[in-house]
Amino acid sequence: MSFPWAKNYEPQQPLMKWLDEKLPLPRLVYNAVGAGYPVPRNLNYFWNFGVLAGAALAIQIVTGIVLAMHYAANAGVAFNSVEHIMRDVNAGWFIRYAHMNGASMFFIVVYLHIFRGLYYGSYKAPREMVWLLGVVIFLLMMATAFMGYVLPWGQMSFWGAQVITGFFSAIPMVGEPIRQWLLGGFAPDNAALNRFFSLHYLLPFVIAGVIILHIWALHIPGSSNPTGIEVKDEQDTVPFHPYYTAKDGFGLGVFLFVFAALTFFTPNLLGHADNYIAANPLSTPAHIVPEWYFWPFYAILRAFTFNFLWIDAKLWGVIAMFAAIALLFFLPWLDSSPVKSSTYRPLNRIFFWILVVDVLILGYCGKSPAEQPYVILSQLGSIYYFAHFLIILPIISRIERPLPMPNSITEAVLAKHADDKSAATA
């Protein structure tokens, strides 16, 4: 579906006419990201991050395929094969550092993309399916990133695998057998490394598939926008190409600049020193810390220190950590406010910013050792996290009085320009 004023693909060249009759691939591209897709005219820079996440995935796949040509997924040689890439493969150090920091860049843009969705209410009707597929992509990304971090077979790789697969052993009765089945042994070893490599190669293509569904689902209602008001007529929109291809091109340049600065100047900034020590099952690192993008969830996991209601603390932590992500699936129904954008939701805006600060605090606690004051901070932070989504948001979406909203996107744009002019003359 698209808006009635969307342009139709009309091939001029004989070759394209011929192709359009046999396999309308150019038509698909034209309608998806070309002039055939009308988009609200008022998108701000936060709407760049979807395309950037796609670019980050493409970079990960390309660098990853090259790395796989030189990497050996065997517990005996994996660590040295990574160092072989760093030292002996032509530009191997660049490919490896780009892949390593590319994962961080992927999470940075995806977290900003999720931030955008939360602030502007992009998850609400009619775009619930876009949001649900997005959460699926996020889960797949986390699984892929975790398994990728195991592959260099350093100390954090090994002990991270030990801790994460240990979650399954918290399940009563069947936990330990499940863990052994997943690992192919009693502890992470060659069997685990091999299957993690296989899945780490597979999942990015699954992600690419779900991204196609994500974009497909988006194209049915069309893109959201900062006012949260739906498109009413043609003057509210511009064709995706050239307007947003140009804007996304600029966004891509800025993204690549930050990415390159990180990769070439401080490639190990976001990593952990212990992962340059080869895996050693007999020596546990003093602090086992996951990669930065898991810190908030790691803090939630460790916040539960009390056996409550016959469920022991470890299982509470594991359930809570998964629930922290799973509750995002219910967000479109937890927040019943008909107003999408927080620009017009004064009460929601306050609690939303508290949530942002809360997640940052949880992240800091997840990075820090399990001692005070980080334990109590992560407990308080976790309380707010669950309270925000499960209690506060459903209540404020009922009692809040939204601010007056413009009638259309065009009216909002023109009002903004009128304000700018009067401010300039005053």
């Binding site: 005219r41 008022n42 040295n80 160092e83 760093m86 030292r87 150090w93 660049f94 550092y97 511009v238 050239p242 307007y243 140009a246 804007k247 091109g249 600029f250 891509l252 340049g253 690549l256 600049f257 390159a260 600065a261 990769t263 070439f264 100047f265 490639p267 190990n268 020193a273 340059y276 020590i277 003093a286 539960f304 220190t305 009390f306 409550f308 209601l309 603390a313 509470w316 809570a320 629930a323 509750l327 937890l334 019943s336 001692e371 005070q372 334990v375 109590i376 407990q379 308080l380 976790s382 309380i383 669950f386 309270a387 989504f389 499960l390 209690i391 459903p394 744009v413 023109l414 320009h417």
Partner: protein, 270 residues
């Protein structure tokens, strides 16, 4: 249905967390070693920062320190003899350096018996011990770590390695008994446990440099740390300068995309 259920689930998590808060002691267990532990001292090297270069003379001296002192116990598995051409040795010098090692493990092709041979440029620095058991047996059951990646594999990096090498001292008078170095251990405030198995490795005048450079502990520690920064990442200098070229390219690309973005949107209010 979602909202009431969510409300109950939320209350469940919050109850578990509130109970956790009240049952977790607010004071950490006292850890006396924190008090005596020191943060590493900063070491400035020519390979630091955004405009790095290798100080080749320093790397040569550092390698000499490694060869004459560290290599008695520590391996350097990831570094090949051919790599030392990076800091100014000619092909002939690399060959004769490799040849000076006559203990490269190999197999006698005629008999299949284990044997040794002289080094080739493609060989890696040989390990001082045949395996971990032998290494531990010779070192009071401690295992001397491989040094190839040591400046990347420790918190504090090069600063830590340099501080550790220069940080040996007598234990302070007020050091509690349980933190005193035990048999075969040596006090060093830069080491996480305060006491480590490695004895003070460097002493003034231990290595004589051909270029007449100072050979007190301080200078030898700087030189060998510089060398270990190189062994950890021989491509470090190339990496940073490649980064400048890439950033310049991306800056031009981004400027052009910005200008075309402004141009395309010039007639559209947004």
């Amino acid at each position: 249905m979602v909202r009431p259920l969510g409300f109950l689930v939320g209350l469940g998590f919050i109850a578990a967390l509130v109970l956790a808060i009240f049952t977790t002691p607010l004071k950490n267990e006292p850890n006396a070693s924190h008090e005596f532990h020191k943060h590493p001292r900063h070491l400035a090297l020519s390979s630091d920062g955004l405009f790095p270069h290798w100080d080749k003379a320093q790397l040569q001296r550092g390698m000499q320190v490694y060869k004459e002192v560290c290599s008695a116990c520590h391996s350097l598995n990831l570094v090949a003899f051919r790599n030392i051409a990076d800091f100014g040795y000619t092909e002939g010098q690399v060959k004769s350096f490799a040849k000076s090692y006559d203990n490269i493990p190999s197999i006698n092709p005629d008999t299949g018996e284990p044997a040794t041979r002289t080094g080739l440029p493609s060989d890696h620095f040989p390990s001082p011990y045949p395996n971990e058991v032998a290494a531990r047996a010779a070192n009071n059951n401690a295992l001397p770590p491989d040094l190839s990646l040591i400046t990347k594999a420790r918190e504090g990096g090069k600063d830590y390695v340099y501080s550790l090498l220069t940080g040996y001292q007598n234990p302070p008078k007020n050091l509690p008994k349980e933190l005193q170095p035990g048999t075969g251990l040596h006090f060093n405030p830069y080491f996480a446990n305060l006491n480590l198995a490695m004895a003070k490795p460097l002493n003034d005048g231990q290595v004589t440099f051909a270029d007449g450079s100072k050979n007190d502990v301080e200078h030898m520690a700087r030189d060998v740390t510089a060398f270990l920064v190189w062994t950890a990442e021989p491509n470090l200098v190339k990496r940073v300068w490649t980064g400048w070229a890439v950033l310049l390219f991306i800056a031009i690309f981004t400027t052009l995309t910005y200008l075309s973005y402004r141009n395309i949107w010039a007639d559209k209010k947004h």
